[in-house]
Subunit: 218 residues, 2 copies
């Protein structure tokens, strides 16, 4: 039934291309993760920590999506990981076509994991499949606990929600339980992790989650 429904669905051009990318990633045995969030949630910092802890065990490439700058790619390059910056030139999200073009900058056969850091935007990237196997939405304790309710499409489409900047929790009104309940009401299967790149809280669990995802896929 699922298959018939899927076949009947009129796939948009992005969805078609994303499906092609997904097949390519499977053939090349590359696990692909798409990280989405508001601007300033700490995605790039979390990514730096991830590369620091996992790059001895896994071969990881990074695609950075930003509207204009290459600041984030420069930060990632310092970790030694192969990185390519996509500048969307005004577009508020990455699309599968942009990822396809960026792949020419990598040797997919050498990678275990490709991490795509999307443009900072809690709205538009939710609608654009990039062929990823894992979608991670990062929120921070300073953004308010109402984000899952206010941006439901993103939290419905994500496999994992990371609540970052836990070190700032005591200085905010953020209600962790409320944020978690809202996210689960939208998406009962969503995995939830609390992290802080400053204190290291939750980073071991995060690394384990990413490693398990790679091992399932490769």
């Amino acid at each position: 039934m699922e298959k018939i429904k899927l076949e009947r669905k009129v796939l948009s051009r992005n969805d078609l291309l994303a499906a092609e990318l997904r097949s390519l990633f499977e053939r090349e045995n590359v696990a692909v993760m798409n990280m989405v969030s508001s601007p300033g949630s700490g995605k790039t910092s979390l990514l730096e920590k991830t590369l620091g802890s996992l790059s001895r065990k896994l071969s990881i490439g990074v695609i950075e999506g930003d509207i204009q700058t290459d600041n984030d790619a420069a930060r990632i390059a310092k970790t030694g990981a192969p990185v390519h910056q996509i500048q969307t030139g005004g577009a508020c999200h990455l699309e599968a076509e942009m990822v396809r073009k960026a792949l020419t900058h990598f040797r997919l056969e050498d990678l275990d994991l490709l991490i795509i850091e999307n443009v900072g935007n809690l709205v538009c990237p939710s609608a654009f499949d990039l062929g990823e196997g894992l979608r991670v939405v990062v929120i921070s304790t300073t953004e308010g606990d109402d984000k899952p309710m206010k941006y439901p499409a993103m939290f419905r489409s994500a496999h994992v929600m990371v609540i970052n900047k836990m070190d700032l929790l005591p200085h905010t009104d953020f209600d962790i339980e409320k944020a978690i309940n809202h996210a689960r009401s939208l998406n009962p299967d969503i995995k939830i992790l609390n992290t802080s790149c400053r204190t290291g809280e939750g980073l071991d669990e995060w690394s384990e989650l990413v490693t398990a995802f790679v091992h399932e896929n490769v």
Copy 2:
């Protein structure tokens, strides 16, 4: 190409309608402010403080833009100000047409100031003129000082940048001078204010700025 053409058409239609709204606001002597930011920068808290300090002197109406919830309208309604919630139903920004429809919920002739709180998004709302006289971009110290460089269209189009959550500054790596220099390099005329809704820092200057804007316009 098709997509770009379509976007241009939508934008020019929006610009035409925004120009009509601007004429209407001038005829009715209403000053209009459009507040834009990332999700969770503290726009709604700043708005609550603004209404608290100015509503005895000015007649203020509020339009809230959100994708799905009416949480923010409920918060604003508690201040006693007339408020109408626009639920964009997935759209990542407000458009002039949405504002035009929302105006039927207000008696414009009774208002000195109409404040529009846009959808939390640092990208797309920059391209949609709502007929406002003042565009205010709010960033917070927890988002990182690179936001002006990474989302330049928004900072070029804004008249005022508010750096909010100054109370959290000691707990972050946010470099105020860097953020200000970046914003001014994009937009030399941008006015800049530092605020904290927790400690009250900068709120008097903010109220003065808003009051001066209303008096210039009315």
